[in-house]
């Protein structure tokens, strides 16, 4: 690929997904009954809902299904597939909009997804669901609003919700938790804002709402939450109806906010915690990925960060620069590593880190694609990543580049 920067990574293929190459924060791999590997991809923006790509041969990906949203004032930023059920998160542009919630699809025939049910999370103060986790076929863990939830600040509408989908035709709420002080009527005072300006923009850089909620089958009694400006949380969810805080860690402030993902490395007693860069031109630098010692769950200790390339080189290249999504070691047809971390860093591309020594992470591979055609910014903005159990790396550009497939020599 002309103009790309590569170190120990090779591009196997690239697909702009029929011209709708804005990839959101959802990539999930299904092994279909006929053995095909189907990668389900969420879109960053309307008009598309989700796209299914047959990646059985990673050198020749092929779009086999692409669906549309009901209108353009919404997005389906996140999705997960578990078995033959696909869960898609719907978020609307303004509180009160619809449809806002989670839709379940039967994808046993990947070319023709069929809606099973819809869990409604709309409400006068809700934008619906932003991000979801669904790996066990039984419970969806997600960030969402609710009809009965009035936040103390309008940007704090999405909190931790657990949805029981054991009967996929009839999803029901199993539990919820929110940051104390973010709901009107809470005994706790509202949290002090980290970066409150601009106050009137619902997409502003400051929020005490949930982003990712990760739950692994090896520790079904734990949820790992990235609560944006509230930091990282380890929750006891042995009783899903009443999640309880076990441990928390928050570098914001002085760091500029937006804890995104909290991924446990369960064999090692570590957490990998990412911030999300949410502003262009290095405005919110440094957005870091932290390695946290979690051997003692109620005393989380940061011990290092993943090294990023120089801000003077990347800060003003165009678009965002800094941490965002990582491959989350989910079960299924997924590569699971506690030694290597695969991440996307917007204009700094796809990066792989060796954290065998967690005090001194080292970058071992990277790939930065050139600016894709029709992008709104001057660089590729690598936004989402998934690694399958064969070690094949799938990553997506936020604006127009679509799907990039790699292999790494690590």
């Amino acid at each position: 690929m002309q103009g790309a920067v590569a170190k120990h990574m090779k591009l196997l293929s690239h697909d702009t997904m029929r011209g709708f190459g804005g990839v959101g924060e959802g990539m999930s791999l299904q092994i279909a009954k006929d053995g095909r590997r189907i990668l389900w991809i969420a879109h960053e923006w309307a008009p598309k809902n989700f796209t299914a790509v047959d990646v059985s041969d990673p050198r020749t990906p092929r779009v086999i299904c692409q669906t549309a949203l009901p209108h353009n004032d919404m997005r389906s930023n996140s999705l997960e597939v578990s078995g033959d059920i696909l869960a898609v998160a719907y978020q609307v542009a303004k509180p009160g909009g619809k449809p806002a919630g989670v839709e379940l699809f039967d994808v046993s025939r990947p070319e023709t997804p069929t809606s099973i049910s819809f869990f409604d999370a709309s409400g006068p103060h809700s934008r619906g669901m932003h991000c979801l986790w669904f790996v066990d076929g039984e419970f969806i863990h997600c960030s969402g609003g609710a009809a009965d939830f009035e936040p103390t600040h309008f940007r704090d509408d999405q909190f931790y919700r657990i949805i029981d989908v054991r009967n996929p035709s009839h999803p029901v709420e199993a539990g919820r938790w929110w940051y104390p002080g973010t709901r009107k009527g809470d005994a706790a005072a509202p949290p002090k804002r980290v970066r409150p300006m601009p106050m009137d923009d619902i997409r502003g850089p400051d929020a005490f709402r949930l982003h990712n909620s990760n739950v692994y089958p090896e520790r079904p009694d734990r949820a790992y939450l990235g609560y944006i400006d509230g930091g990282a949380f380890i929750m006891d969810i042995s009783d899903k109806s009443t999640p309880k805080v076990i441990g928390t860690w928050n570098p914001h402030p002085p760091y500029p906010g937006f804890t995104h993902t909290v991924m446990p490395l369960l064999d090692r007693g570590l957490l990998v915690v990412t911030d999300e860069c949410v502003q262009d031109e290095g405005e919110d630098w440094p957005k870091l990925t932290w390695v946290v010692d979690a051997r003692k769950e109620d005393n989380l200790v940061p011990i290092s960060t993943l090294p990023l390339p120089p801000v003077e080189e990347f800060g003003h290249k165009g678009g965002r620069f800094g941490s965002h999504n990582i491959h989350e070691n989910r079960p299924g047809p997924s590569f699971r590593s506690e030694d290597y971390i695969f991440g996307v860093f917007f204009n700094a591309g796809v990066r792989v880190f060796d954290i065998k020594n967690p005090y001194r992470p080292e970058e071992v591979a990277c790939f930065i694609p050139p600016m894709p055609e029709n992008s709104r910014v001057a660089t590729a903005q690598m936004n989402e990543i998934y690694v399958d159990e064969r070690g094949v790396i799938y990553a997506g550009d936020r604006w127009s580049g679509g799907l990039y497939v790699f292999e790494a020599n690590i």
Partner: protein, 250 residues
């Protein structure tokens, strides 16, 4: 018969090449080289046991405080445990299990152990056989030959969670983890295994489903005292540091 040489860096090791470069260059004729972070031995070397000299730092001042068998055993256990990273729970758990198995094995065979009920019981207790158990080399980086490097594509070392040298066999243990090997690591391991029939490769699953550790490592866990006349402790004069391999007893 070809004599094979094994060079292993082990314990908390970041740079195995550097560890080995800090060891004496040649094997002494009368025994293996064992240090707190490296082992170099040959296929005719005696077994590496907990009582083998060199791997454990036991200054006389510390020894003087270890007045009971239990205190000495616990010190030995703690030295082994410290060879696993604080961020490696599977390895920590394995070492704990292994040492528990050793203790249980001695208890279960107390009446059969040499000297257990004889006149020399006054000199030592059957529990002292603990120190005759095979020495686990945790986080072991085995140095490859030039040919092996070429064939496997690996750099200088191949890593195993634990290695044992029983005097007759090198046993390389891999613990199944949540972490998967990378495609390159898988390739290197498969190629290496195909080349080394002298090594016994053992993979221990994460969920043993009721299987005991002995089931996976019978030659290490069971009757490890076979061929030994009496138990030796980890602290003794230089002249008694090495016990001959079972095959060289007569």
């Amino acid at each position: 018969m070809t004599i094979l040489r094994y060079h292993i860096a082990f314990g908390i090791v970041e740079n195995p090449a550097r560890v080995l470069s800090m060891q004496p260059a040649a094997l002494p004729q009368d025994g293996p080289i064992l240090s707190p972070s490296a082992a170099s031995f040959a296929s005719d070397s005696p077994a590496l046991r907990l009582n083998s000299a060199g791997w454990m730092s036991l200054p006389a001042a510390v020894m003087a405080t270890l007045r009971t068998h239990a205190a000495l055993k616990n010190y030995c256990r703690s030295r082994i445990q410290k060879k696993a990273s604080i961020f490696d729970r599977p390895l920590q758990d394995f070492l704990t299990s292994y040492l528990d198995v050793v203790e249980a094995e001695i208890r279960d065979h107390a009446n059969d152990l040499p000297g257990g009920a004889s006149w020399d019981a006054a000199l030592y207790d059957t529990a002292d056989w603990f120190f005759s158990a095979f020495l686990p080399l945790p986080n072991a980086h085995l140095e490859l030959t030039e040919e092996e490097r070429k064939e496997t594509g690996a750099e200088r070392f191949i890593r195993f969670d634990v290695v044992f040298w029983t005097g007759t066999s090198l046993i390389a243990v891999t613990l199944e983890r949540l972490s998967m090997p990378t495609p390159r690591q898988r390739h290197e391991q498969a190629r290496f295994a195909a080349m080394r029939s002298d090594i016994t490769f053992v993979s221990i699953p994460r969920k043993k489903n009721g299987m005991r550790l002995q089931s996976y490592l019978p030659s290490v866990c069971e009757q490890f005292w076979h061929g030994l006349r009496y138990p030796l402790g980890p602290y003794r004069p230089e002249a008694f540091r090495w016990q001959p391999a079972p095959g060289r007893l007569s």
